[in-house]
Symmetry: C3
Subunit: 319 residues, 3 copies
């Protein structure tokens, strides 16, 4: 039995989290179940558990993201780990050292877990292939490829509010083409048995061949939202707005921005999600972002628990 | 009984420290008394108390100040809190996210305490109005408005050396107009019953209407220093020196720089204070800064204890 | 008995680590013996010892070096110390504050240990002369002068693989002239009784007067490597490569780059060391760097233990 999936060991246990694609449903469910136990840690007087005490977690952010780095730092700290933040832009990598030499050096410092954000798709895989057996890798976003912890916290949020995936209709709205969040969410929803996933946006950002991922492509927001249970809004990157792919942010908002009127097409109990940071008045109206259907801030809270669960699980399994 | 003061809860307890203005004298005294208990922690073999164990303190420095941030980081660490330093200039705020969205997101990560330095006056008030009841805000300097922990450590230092405020003459020398330290010190001295506060400097930096704050305005350093017990020198900002408000730093030093000769006009046991970092030869002569009347370094030591006291007190009170 | 050496107290105990030059052999050996006890900490489930619990370690990197700073941060964390990283480039020093004022202020915050990297030779000595008796200084590299913890980890590595220094031939290859690592290694090898130290490189980087340090100067790599037991390759700084001192990196590699063929001239059990980060194809061939004679990654692992030993020893001795 060859473990083709580099995320799993010979016993089928999770040793790295690189992508949702290829993860067995039981593992996704196990992460969500474990996260449920950690959600309450944030409400305690002493917000810590000793699970990773004395372990060294390295935050390797080759691409800057203060927010995501902070969530991992908090999650690791609440597991009692020691966290080292590496400002990679200023480190030896800038002196011409290769990615693998940097990793080999940090591993030799007795690292236990690397949290990796990288601008190039696949970088966390490359790292996972080269680390020593006692070292674990968690992908915190690589290129346009994957953002698995975001997808897991999205699944946690959906499960929290909707209980069951088997009858849900979920719409993912915006720049699906360039979004690692969208890709990971689609894989996660499919894995968990969600029967209908819609991707919604203009043809430049939601090309017809996305249908090959098993989703329904909608170029009209009205069509995409009708009777859906969950709306996942994507952040419109600034570089797209000023580029050739879109006319202007006002035009975009007119067609694809989520307003209370548009949201009325969804089910009355539909929830609205967003990975943040939100662009008010571009992809989402403030009345929706701050409204009673928005679960954007609970997503952030659940995100800490989900990252605690992922780090706790991988660090507990030997390669 | 409506608590108009956003710093206090319905029981009149401190829940945020935003400004000295409006703080009851008992609360100022309570902070100083609590700090006195923490001063000895710095001399211990293990410099820690478990008061904030498992709490998350976020250093939100929208305006860079390594020194002040470091004092809060040390204070929080000695209270056993977990400290997250946010490099705001590089974070989502730079991506166009609003201040309140940033705060809402960080609060959702189960933050307990925000230490906020911001270039705009009032930003910590705005934040305090929008955080959840379990979250506390400490102002680490906002615009030209207030720097309450600096004023509290100044009061601690004065009380340490002079015991009683009721007979003191205190001179604050320099750019009083633009100084949040001066404003906070004036409020603190008035609150603690100091009978004479003098503000000393050229008319461009100490305009006559400052007298409305209940202080005596002096445009001559000699007049300002005569028979005073405490001299608080302010840092002359570089941008003022090269601007239209002042002729040159040499000229300034000639008129308002504190030399041993000028200091001889004060009482023989007068102490000299400065919030740091000092500009030697601009606002203060090295012979004074390093002399036996200088308490500039004890101010730094007391500053850690005062910040421990503030964080410990606010975190212990529910909104 | 006057303790001329500022690194030692009146009992001859180590209170600062500033330079290998002038350190008694027993102290060097004591550091290596202590490090041996810490090497196993990196393999433990909980990688921590409580030796510096509650102590405040300040990383003062006036010259940026993410890698070296990280090794000290990990070492201090594994000793249970609280670590404060100071981004000096952005701090008050940039506002014109003097080095000694910065140090005096940080000392007043009840610092226990300063780890100092500075571009100017001698800066850590200057700091050590001015700190309070309870504060300790460790030099993490100053100008072209010294890098004592690198030399100590190099000695640890050599002792680990070769046991005894008394019969060894060690070749140090590259830009010896500008290298603080080379200077510190030469002093350490001499102190430990190594009978033959060779320095190898072109005349521009290895001038003949280096012989005054008690080493053998070789301008041919073949001559330098013949029958040696240990090869220490130095990193070729980019600024040298583009400068007048060297023709080109290709030319340099042809004459002084370490290839398997060149290494065959050394003893069959010779080890290859490098302080990192390596320039593959400039000073060292990948086949050597990744080969079975390379101990470059063990150096990194031992470096953590050696830094733990140094910090633990100095912090335990009073001035």
């Amino acid at each position: 039995m060859t473990p083709r999936n580099p995320q799993l060991n010979w016993h089928g246990e999770l040793i790295h989290l690189l992508s949702i694609e290829g993860l067995p449903r039981e593992i996704v469910t196990h992460i969500l179940d474990t996260a449920a136990q950690f959600v309450s840690v944030g409400d305690r007087e002493v917000k810590k558990v000793p699970l990773l005490r004395g372990k060294s977690v390295f935050n390797l952010f080759f691409e800057n993201s203060t927010r995501t780095r902070t969530t991992f730092e908090i999650a690791a700290t609440r597991l009692s780990a020691d966290v080292i933040n590496l400002d990679i832009g200023r480190s030896s990598t800038a002196k011409g050292e290769s990615l693998l030499d940097t990793i080999a050096n940090l591993s030799a410092m007795a690292a236990d877990l690397f949290v990796v954000r990288h601008g190039e798709s696949g970088a966390p895989y490359l790292i996972a292939q080269h680390v020593a057996p006692h070292v674990h890798v968690v992908n915190a976003g690589d290129g346009r490829h994957a953002h698995p912890t975001q997808a897991l916290l999205d699944m946690y949020t959906i499960r929290h509010y909707k209980r069951d995936f088997s009858r849900l209709t979920v719409a993912i709205v915006g720049d699906v083409l360039h979004s690692r969040v969208a890709r990971s969410d689609i894989h996660a929803l499919t894995t968990l048995g969600c029967p209908e996933v819609r991707v919604v946006g203009p043809k430049t950002l939601v090309p017809p061949d996305l249908a090959a991922m098993g989703v329904r492509v909608c170029h009209s927001l009205e069509e995409g939202l009708r009777d859906c249970d969950v709306v996942i809004m994507l952040r419109l990157q600034n570089e797209r707005m000023s580029g050739a792919l879109l006319p202007s942010s006002q035009e975009y908002f007119k067609s694809y921005g989520l307003t209370p009127e548009k949201l009325a097409l969804a089910r009355p109990d539909a929830i609205v999600m967003h990975p943040g940071p939100i662009n008010r008045g571009v992809e989402i109206d403030s009345a929706v972002a701050d409204g009673d259907r928005s679960v954007i801030l609970p997503q952030v809270t659940f995100g800490i628990a989900v990252r605690m669960a992922v780090m706790g699980i991988v660090a507990g399994n030997e390669a």
